[in-house]
Symmetry: C5
Subunit: 105 residues, 5 copies
């Protein structure tokens, strides 16, 4: 899994039938800032993930990829390879806090 | 999943029997332009994906990879690892619109 | 899937029993030349794929990766993650032809 | 699989039901130092993995990815793509020792 | 699959029960030297793979990744994503030999 920031959404009206009604979010994977290890920084990559837990834009979430994206009740039969499985409250690193949802706008 | 632009197609007359009759499209993954975050730009990568929903060249589509590419009615038993599951109408980012199908030629 | 050029082969006499008798080819993934989009160029990566359709050195083929490599009749129970599913005749891009098997030596 | 260092943890109170009670650790993949091959160095990447064997921060662990992350008794039905399957005691390379848990603080 | 050189091993005494007794080897993926295409060179990446066929340090082997790593008799139920399926004798490229086990020390 990886931590990603939800930064947008995708609308696709023509799609595979089973995908109708599923929210598609733009997510950008984050990693530890290699220069000071004090915060999370974007990897510069862009993915699309299905959301089933009510994530909103600006939030940091936990993404699972691959066949395991189908291991939630809502996604069992969907042709998807990425799903949001949690909204991140805090990330602890090297004994300190590098992300706290309360501090993020 | 990721957003990709359909830019071409592949013809292969000698192939695994089950693949006969399936449309193979060249797709190029796009990501958020890291310089200004105002548009989508190519990642420079090239994939081949099966299309089952009538995507055409020039369109932006949603691609699913891996075993989940077999989770659509038409692809259940195919030896494929990438399929188009939707045609992208709009991509919203940071509260604005970075892609609108109507504006794309 | 991706387009790759078959450039060689691997011989391994000590191997998992089920792999005996299967042809192992060196394949190099190709992508669209980012400078002019007029031809395919190597990505510089090297893979090994099983061939079941009679591909030969110098040919451009279509490769499927992951669990779907086991979705052909000959590979169903093999411990493999890449198989050749087609021999590429042509690749069309941006409305033109960037690869034609007849022109390739 | 790959060797990674456990450097932190993630808390997510809103999550998929089946994930409640599972420890989520920040892990950073390590590789052989290409300059002298005498030690392990970070790859600069950041993942999140589930721990089921009591790994602690600062330890080097063995990570498995993909569907196989569900092949442990505790993770069978979880929507996860990475799990810690062992705590690394030693890494031998080129006939010498490049990592020994006893020497790591 | 890919060709890799076995360069070391990992010992992990605390591990998932099913992994007890399985040999864990450090493997480094090799690719064709892009400068002259006359030999194999390391990609600089480091993986850990399970060995079931008696591979030794210094040997070049064939690695399979993902769920297919569980498609050998010994690994069927293991939480692993990489296994050695063959010991490489020769690699032919562009009509010549770029690797011969007899010449490798």
């Amino acid at each position: 899994m990886f931590v990603a920031k939800v930064t947008g959404s995708v609308v696709a009206s023509t799609k595979v039938d089973s995908m109708v009604g599923h929210k598609l979010l733009i997510v950008e994977p984050y990693r530890i800032d290699p220069s000071d290890r004090k915060r999370l920084v974007t990897t510069g990559r862009t993915f699309v993930a299905v959301d089933t837990i009510g994530s909103g834009e600006g939030e940091y979430v936990l993404i699972v990829q691959g066949s395991s994206a189908r291991l939630t009740p809502e996604t069992k039969t969907l042709p998807i390879d990425a799903v949001i499985i949690g909204i991140v409250d805090t990330v602890q690193l090297d004994g300190g806090t590098v992300f706290n949802r309360k501090d993020a706008s």
